[in-house]
Each structure stands twice: as structure tokens, then as C-alpha cells.
């Protein structure tokens, strides 16, 4: 699989950290397939470096990181750097799921992860249809 030699965007998706929550990941996989995206799914229990390495290997345009156990602040603390180190300066990074423990105001959660270099944050129940429209927009913006 490779992102080279195609006009269509290539994505990497997966669930970060020691996190076995699989259902949302599979639902996302089904929806991306249905929406015609090319992607690789790292599945559950994927380390931050796995996302960066995979993105490099398949020449990904965007990375969609899931986190369901509330540990995202820990696992994403250096995430933008990992991609930069591999020369992927312009890659789009989304984070979604139960990204913090307890309940926090959305604005606070968004600010936290945007500060870590994440482009869009989907906290709590997420409409994947909306997320996919945003992704198309961001990918188009990036192409020009």
C-alpha cells in the first residue's frame, strides 16, 4: 500500500496508547471505506511512533487518532514532533474520542490539544459524517 502515485488522499487511522476500545475504530473504518477514502488502520493499542512511521511509509495526508480511555493528553504530548522528525511537517492530525478523563468544557479540551499541534479535536460523541466533511475541506485546503 502506498500513498504515492494517486490523486486520492491517504489516511492513517488507529487507537493510541494502551487502549483496546475497538468499536468506534471499526465504525470509522467502515465509514471511511464507504466515503471512498484510502487508508490503513493500525487498530487498537497503537503507539504514537506507530502512527508517525505508518504515515511516512504510506505517504499519508492525514492521521486520525482515536483515544477512548482518557489517556490522550499523555500519549499525544509530543505527537506533532514525531511527524516533524520524519519530515511530515504538513500532515493533518485529528484526535477524537473520550480524550480526557472526567468531563471538561469542550473549549478547554480543544485548547489543550490544539496546543499540542493537533488540527481538529472531536471530544465525546462525534458525528463521523461531520468529521469526514471537515476532513475533505482540510485536505482540499492543503492541496492548494
Amino acid at each position: 500500500m502506498s500513498g504515492y502515485g494517486s490523486n486520492r488522499a491517504m489516511l492513517v487511522i488507529g487507537v493510541i496508547g494502551n487502549d483496546i476500545h475497538v468499536v468506534a475504530n471499526r465504525v470509522l473504518e467502515i465509514c471511511l471505506k464507504d466515503a471512498g477514502f484510502r487508508f490503513i488502520n493500525l487498530g487498537t493499542n497503537s503507539m504514537p511512533e506507530d502512527f508517525a512511521d505508518a504515515a511516512l511509509e504510506v505517504a499519508a495526508d492525514a492521521v486520525l487518532i482515536g483515544s477512548l480511555n482518557g489517556e490522550a493528553p499523555h500519549w499525544c504530548r509530543n505527537i506533532r514532533n514525531l511527524f516533524r522528525e520524519r519530515g511530515l511537517d504538513r500532515i493533518i492530525i485529528y484526535l477524537g474520542g473520550n480524550v480526557v478523563t472526567g468531563e471538561l468544557p469542550h473549549a478547554e479540551v480543544e485548547a489543550l490539544f490544539k496546543g499540542l499541534g493537533i488540527d481538529r479535536v472531536y471530544y465525546g460523541a462525534t458525528d463521523f459524517d461531520e468529521m469526514i466533511s471537515a476532513l475533505r475541506k482540510d485536505l482540499n485546503g492543503r492541496a492548494t
Binding site: 475497538v22 465504525v27 467502515i30 487498530g43 487498537t44 459524517d129
Partner: protein, 472 residues
């Protein structure tokens, strides 16, 4: 063709056993510990004996496991008093992954801080000598509930403890529970477990094995459940198991529950006969709703009570209960006892009909599931291997067995299902399941009714609706 064989040479696994038993961290059992202990137990504690008796209602089994001995003992007594027919011993997740060291650390911490740091009872760490005391004076069969791809040592210790029902199987305890445990290894480990159960079985009171047809409890189509259950039954029968239960979880459609129960009853009988297995008793276990559970107590209780009634309607031999705390975590023993009492109340006051409940819709559904099951089983038997267990491994590799939402990285994830007619689970894309012709048309027709009702719904909205069916 790797057909199941009833003439396998059940050579002694003594040497392997001795080595394995020596690795137990606490009170390594002797080769004869289990046999000797089991021989002196009363008939009443044998699951196979209890299941073989005629009865007017499904038997009741809750779930439950705590880290510390005294908590597990208290839970056991509470559940027995509440009217549970089977007493569960649910094992913690570190033991399930053979990580006895972490289990030991967290057990010690639980004891020091007077708080549960494990989500079940670490049986291997407690050892059989202490664990036998859990069941003094209880007089009911104990069921081992876990989720372990390599359960060899755990089953050894369980049998030495006097536990007479062992849940699990290579497919059902690997695909939903692990990300990458190789299925071929799990198949070999479970051959050991099955054979051990067979070896320690007395003719009139065999050790009972039970499969876990629940799988991921997330939009798993009935045929996938049926295929997996028939495979695990045949794998166990090959190793000499004489008392076995197939199981499935409430689907969300009473029609489909009735149909699947009927198919499982008939097909297990047919496939055993086809391969020359005689004298295997097969039972049917129904799991109350295993999907996303409502948080509201009133809704949870309604679901539990209704599901108890369905267990009776489908003629289940045993029902595995949920509690109103399901959405919130591990239930308090009192809440668990309350659920047992609630289910018992329903079952005792609304007894089984004399004849199975059916009707045309159930027949249509059952006929399709059975044809699908036979197509897939034929494809598995036709795979180019010499042994049945290898065919099962290859079938998984090729996506012939493909379990929706299984976390296992070897799972193909090509099957797509949605809810259709009467909230039943139907196949929109069979992936590489070898289903052809009429059955796929019938699946589509059952889905068309739903599309008519909700024409604008996106795939995402449909999936979320269907997964969260009971939370809406």
C-alpha cells in the same frame, strides 16, 4: 479435507501436564489432585449432571469475580442464597493474559489497601488449596468464566479446585479478547484444555465445557455465531468432551433469537452425527443483552426481565444474567443477587410453553440461517488441510470466519451487517464468507424494510443506531 475425527488417538498428555503444573506460582497441583478431589464431590456440584436433569425453566447463572478470597467467598454465598443455580468464578484480565506476576502484585495491593485492583479472581495466584474453600457447603456447580487464549494452567487449577464447568474455546476466547494471539496456538491450547476435561471426566459425570458464542456482541450475524459454535463443539468432541454447551447473546430480535436457538439445537445434533460423535450431550445457553447497556436502572431492569422471558421462550437450558449496574462497571454483590432474584421471579411465574414457540417468520429466518451455516461449514471442510483444527485456522485467515468488531488483527473485517426486519441483524456485505444466491437476496430483503423506514440515514447513523439499540 480436514474433517473432524472421532477416532483420534487420545494419547496421554501426562508429561506435558507435569511440566505445566510445576509452573503454577502457588500450590502446584499434583497430576492426581483434580481426579481425586472431583471423585469425592457430590453429583450436585457437577454442571453436566445438573444440565442433564429435566427442568421446567432455564437454569440461572450470574457473573462475578473479585480479587480477594473473602470477597469472592461472600459473593458466592450471596449468589447462592439469591437462587443462582450455577455459581460463577470470573477471572481477572491479567490472569487471562497469563501475567501471573502482575496479578500477584495487584492482589497484594488489593489486600493491603482493602480495595479491588483486579477485575476478577486471580485463581492461579490464589491456588487450588485455598480456592476449594470458596465452595465449602455451597453444593452447586461452579463455572469458570474468563477469556483466555492459553488457559491450560488456569483450567488445571480450576479442575483441582473442583470447578466442573469450563467456559471458553479457541475462537471465542481469542478473536474477541486479544489483538494478536495467534489462532493456531490458541487452537492447540484449547485442544489441551478439552482433552484435559475429557480425561478428568467420570463416565456419568463428565466435566462440562461451554462455548462463548457471544463473540463481540456487536452486530454479529446469526450465521457467524452458528459457524463458530459448531466448530468449537466439533473441536471439543474430537478431544473426547462429552458434555458441551453452545451459546449466544440476545440479538435484539425475538424472531432471530428463536430461529438461532432452533438452528443451533438441530445443527449441533446433525454435525455430531455426520462425523460419528456419539454420546455428546449438547446444551443451549442464552446470554442476556451483551451489547451497549442502558445506564438508567429502570431500563436495565426492564431489559433483564424481558430477556429472562426470552430465554424461556427459546428453550435455553441456562441463562447468563446481567445486572442493572452493567453500564457502570463491576456490580455490587447485592445488585448481582437482585438480578438473579428478578430473573428467577420471571422464570418461575411465567413457565415454559409445552411446545416451542414458532411461526412462519421464525421458520423463514431459521431456514436461511441453516442454509448459510451449511454453506460455510462445507467450505471449511473443503479447505486443503489434513486436520479439522487447521481448517478452522485457515478459515479465519481467509475471512471465511470473519467476526464483526473483533479486535484481533487477523480478522478480515470485510463483513458488514446492519439491523433490518424486527431489529434482527442482517448481512449487507458478506465479505469472503462463501454465501451465494438466495440467502443473500433474503438478507437484502430483510434490510430493505428498514431502508424504506429511514431512507435518509447515512451509514454512520445506521451503525450507531444499531450498535446502541438498547440505549435509545
Amino acid at each position: 479435507m480436514g474433517a473432524p475425527r472421532s477416532d483420534l488417538d487420545l494419547e496421554a498428555i501426562g508429561k506435558l501436564r507435569a511440566r505445566l503444573l510445576g509452573t503454577a506460582p502457588t500450590d502446584p497441583p499434583e497430576l492426581g489432585s483434580a481426579v481425586e478431589y472431583l471423585a469425592n464431590l457430590s453429583d450436585a456440584v457437577f454442571a453436566s449432571v445438573t444440565l442433564a436433569k429435566p427442568r421446567s425453566r432455564p437454569l440461572i447463572q450470574p457473573r462475578g469475580g473479585f480479587a480477594r478470597f473473602q470477597d469472592q467467598r461472600a459473593l458466592t454465598l450471596t449468589l447462592a442464597r439469591a437462587g443462582a443455580d450455577f455459581i460463577p468464578l470470573t477471572i481477572d484480565s491479567h490472569t487471562r493474559h497469563n501475567d501471573y506476576e502482575t496479578a500477584a502484585v495487584l492482589l497484594e495491593r488489593s489486600e493491603l489497601e482493602d480495595k479491588n485492583f483486579l477485575n476478577g479472581y486471580p485463581l492461579v495466584n490464589h491456588g487450588y488449596k485455598l480456592s476449594r474453600k470458596l465452595y465449602q457447603g455451597v453444593g452447586k456447580p461452579i463455572s469458570l468464566r474468563h477469556g483466555t487464549p492459553d488457559a491450560r494452567l488456569l483450567v488445571e487449577v480450576a479442575l483441582a479446585t473442583g470447578i466442573t464447568e469450563i467456559e471458553g474455546g479457541a475462537l471465542t476466547y481469542t478473536l474477541p479478547y486479544t489483538r494478536g494471539y495467534p489462532l493456531a496456538r490458541s487452537l492447540m491450547n484449547w485442544q489441551y484444555c478439552d482433552r484435559l476435561c475429557a480425561m478428568l471426566s467420570a463416565p456419568k459425570r463428565p466435566i462440562h465445557r461451554e462455548s462463548f458464542g457471544v463473540l463481540t456482541a456487536t452486530l454479529v450475524p446469526p450465521v457467524t455465531v452458528a459457524v463458530v459454535e459448531v466448530c468449537e463443539l466439533l473441536l471439543a468432541a474430537e478431544q473426547g468432551v462429552r458434555s458441551f454447551a453452545v451459546s449466544f447473546a440476545q440479538t435484539g430480535s425475538i424472531t432471530q433469537d428463536l430461529a438461532l436457538a432452533g438452528v443451533l439445537r438441530e445443527a449441533t445434533h446433525d454435525y455430531l452425527a455426520r462425523f460419528g460423535f456419539r454420546d455428546v450431550s449438547v446444551h443451549l445457553v442464552y446470554h442476556q443483552w451483551m451489547g451497549a447497556f442502558p445506564r438508567e436502572y429502570v431500563r436495565a431492569a426492564a431489559l433483564i426481565a424481558t430477556s429472562a422471558q426470552i430465554a424461556a421462550l427459546i428453550g435455553a437450558d441456562k441463562v447468563v444474567t446481567k445486572t442493572k449496574e452493567e453500564a457502570r462497571g463491576i456490580p455490587h454483590p447485592d445488585s448481582n443477587a437482585e438480578a438473579v432474584a428478578m430473573v428467577r421471579y420471571v422464570l418461575e411465574h411465567l413457565p415454559l410453553p409445552a411446545a416451542p414457540i414458532g411461526g412462519k417468520e421464525v421458520e423463514i429466518e431459521a431456514s436461511r440461517i441453516r442454509r448459510e451455516l451449511d454453506m460455510i461449514m462445507d467450505a471449511i471442510f473443503d479447505l486443503p488441510t489434513e486436520e479439522f483444527w487447521r481448517s478452522v485456522a485457515l478459515a479465519f485467515e481467509r475471512g471465511i470466519i470473519d467476526v464483526p468488531f473483533a479486535p484481533h488483527e487477523g480478522n478480515l473485517n470485510a463483513v458488514l451487517t446492519l439491523r433490518g426486519r424486527g431489529n434482527g441483524i442482517y448481512i449487507t456485505d458478506p465479505g469472503r464468507m462463501p454465501l451465494t444466491g438466495d440467502v443473500l437476496e433474503e438478507e437484502k430483503a430483510a434490510l430493505a424494510e428498514r431502508r424504506k423506514e429511514r431512507p435518509e440515514e447515512t451509514l454512520f447513523a445506521s451503525l450507531m443506531h444499531d450498535i446502541e439499540l438498547m440505549m435509545r
